[in-house]
Symmetry: C3
Subunit: 356 residues, 3 copies
């Protein structure tokens, strides 16, 4: 069930993945390698996001090194131009353009996120749309967001956010949340996996306490939860409660952990965090600083795991041994496998080589 | 027809290639990897260039890390010495040397260029000699030259110099030649491909104008041409004419673009440029500066093309689509294929793996 | 007989190898890749060295990035703990640990050296113990030691120390020993190979002379020797004699050259040097400086040899040609082959791929 160590694909193609944060895409071309595919993203004349194959069919130059004019992108090598649908619209040395094209990919911009579909176009209507996360477009929530390339298979971060018993080890110095010890409740509902954990009169970590205006270590109630929404998206959060008023939510925090495979050993990790309290700019900036520190701790451990699993040892144990705290992660892997099994697209990859 | 993305050989062995510029070779050994082969070059007692396999047959040390004495090169590890013909002439621990040797390669020094033959020695007489470029030894021309390693297959530069419609895109900021838009006339004569293009009362680029002592943008006549001389060599140039005296050449510029494969994804690009006007040292130095800027632009785009074609995408278009402006490049590829087909040397490479 | 250029194993598994110098191992985990296997070393509560597989069986994190408490090492990711025998003794989210484990490797600490056995545990009693080098525990000798990673197959250093005719070439500027020209006497006794060479009234190198309190170039007697003790260990030395009292040893120098394969193209080179004369701290420090300079010269030439043999040329000579001075090295290679042939351990490596 582990990610493929030396290659092989362990992600579904017929799925909406995150291509970029909305504010990363502008008039300047943005080059991204997504699902083992070179993609160039830019905004057209009316501001809509355009995603094309990032390879000129003439002589293989990356279009992303060229320039955008209106809806059109121009190859940096010989000036071939391509429109938003991928069709060649101009070759400088020709009176009219030849019938050549690059692939064009459907995108959807929803709140802070640009989603892309790189799968079988015939199947797009049967594929679940980008998962809804209402708080990302709810003005009651103030957001901070970012993107981090991580030299690890995307599933490693998936499992990371589905098993928070690593908090007390990887993030002791940053988040300081030391009470996430017991395996959470896990429920599987179709293609979704949700864990929940309730903390009752549990001492608040310093970061939590500061945001709530309370003393660090103050016994407080909180409800933690997380949901595998799709192979691309995980949503999690915490709701705080005054232990003396346990029915009145006293602040909510939400996270989107969005992972897009680059190739077998690399991912892009997009994250969005938001809360509906203590969300003035200074407080949110401080919150974002702590988050970045924690996410870099994840990057460090995950890239070490990837490096170790990529450098095949001569002998010694292989495979992995799961425990109860892995229930959500293991269920998520099964769902990813189901998404992959549903695909019949001929992508030239030997299916027998993918993990099971 | 594209260069092999992941390896495979797409260059002929039985061909004279450029090993070095003449002034690169001296008493100090020069290590070069040419045609997937380690070569050491040095000058012997009488100044002649010697080229040997750069690998001691005793324990595989590179001879180029050793020292030269007269005609002889000494291995840096145990002091084995080899003469210009490749024969071992001394082993320090032995009274007389054993019958071991390294390969010795024919070289020809012509003007500023050292040519090498690494192919089948039995066939050397049937192989065209290094192509003649008379201006490289004509005192009327003043030269500037250089060598640049480029992380790209050698054919990519070949095509680059055979299709100058890239001038207005890759070199707009350096050469500023914006009028090379139409496909040139192309003629194929045996193993040579020549393009020509005449510009009549066309505004002079700033660099051209400066060298001619004219105002930038002045309408002027010029005749541009380029010839694929062999898989190793391309010659090009421009002849300027006063539009009011179109039969009197008013200055000539010549270029040699000499590309030697290092391996499937790397080349050495040797270039020589010369002109018979505005060729005092200061003017030539300025000329060389502009050239270097332009050649670095080529390096940048070609290494991007190579990187993209080396990182195989999961899907998307493959192959290349040629247009009329590629006529010379496509003809050149066919000639390279013919050179390769003529070879029967058993080099241990599966011929089926080479492109066609 | 050359080391495998592109991989393949050319070292025996059933052999005691050096894991570390004793003073490298403490309470902090030490990560080492040994024989293509990730190993973590640390000292337990009573100071004994513990060696475990450096890979948590839960989610593949390197244990060496975690922390040691007493005899126990804790995984940095989820806090799983493992005892010195490799058994999991604690999982934070579980009441009692699951029956999972990492491999535990036998170690022996002898004087300055920590030996490790990574082979077939069923065969350990049939495998020769770590070779004895009495001088490493003899208080009459003062030692200097170190470890150097070298980007070369371990056999390259093996051969280097078995053929000292390289002294006058690789080490002319450091050791300055120019009289090691003739092939030495070589005797093979079972799995040991010994060379000896006597120098009579031979001018002393500057380093030798300084340590003996004599003038550089003074004619002096010395007996040089070296023994391949096992695939892991080579011992060598020099005994000095006053030419006028040739039966009275006037000082002894010993070296241990200990090489442990990391992978096909990398080794760890551990060295210990000692002498029973001129061994106050200042003299030994000066001695160590000269040694380090010389060992770096070895590193430089060996990594060049490895680089050349790893980058397969298209053509040219292959293999190696040995001369009389290689007699000891060639005999050693045969012994390594015998060690390997004795193994029947199923390690998942195709034996046909190993060199012969």
């Amino acid at each position: 069930m582990a990610p493929p160590p030396q290659g092989g694909r362990n992600y579904p193609l017929n799925c909406w993945w995150v291509a970029a944060l909305a504010d990363e895409v502008g008039q300047e071309p943005l080059a991204r390698w997504l699902l083992d595919t070179p993609v160039v993203l830019y905004r057209g004349a009316t501001g809509e996001v355009i995603a094309l194959e990032d390879r000129c069919p003439h002589r293989q130059a990356p279009l992303s090194a060229g320039k955008v004019e209106g809806d059109v992108i121009e190859c940096p090598y010989h000036g071939f131009r391509f429109g938003p649908g991928g069709r060649c619209v101009h070759v400088p040395s020709m009176a009219s353009p030849p019938p050549i094209r690059v692939e064009s990919y459907p995108v959807r911009e929803i709140g802070p996120i640009v989603w892309i579909y790189l799968g079988d176009q015939q199947r797009i209507d049967q594929v679940p749309p980008p998962p809804q996360m209402d708080w990302t477009t709810d003005p009651a929530f103030v957001m901070r967001k970012g993107v981090m390339p991580i030299a690890a298979n995307y599933l490693l971060l998936k499992e990371n956010v589905l098993d928070l018993t690593h908090l007390g080890y990887v993030h002791a110095a940053s988040f300081g949340i030391m009470d996430w010890v017991n395996p959470p409740e896990v429920t599987v509902d179709g293609d979704r996996v949700t864990y929940t954990q309730d903390f009752v009169r549990s001492p608040l970590a310093a970061g939590y306490a500061m945001s709530l205006g309370l003393a660090p270590g103050m016994p407080w109630n909180r409800h933690g939860f997380g949901t595998f929404l799709s192979p691309a998206a995980h949503e999690s959060g915490t709701v705080f409660f005054d232990p003396d008023q346990p029915d009145v939510p006293g602040g909510q925090t939400f996270f989107a952990h969005l992972t897009t495979p680059v190739d077998a050993g690399n991912m892009l990790y997009f994250f969005v965090a938001a809360r509906d309290f203590a969300n003035d700019a200074a407080a949110m900036d401080h919150f974002a600083q702590i988050l970045m520190r924690g996410f870099r701790e994840d990057e460090e451990i995950l890239s070490k795991v990837q490096a170790l699993s990529s450098r095949q040892p001569r002998r010694g144990s292989r495979g992995e041994r799961s425990v109860k705290a892995d229930a959500a992660g293991v269920a998520a892997r099964r769902i990813v496998d189901r998404w992959m099994a549903r695909e019949t697209i001929d992508d030239g990859i030997d299916r027998a080589a993918t993990p099971d």
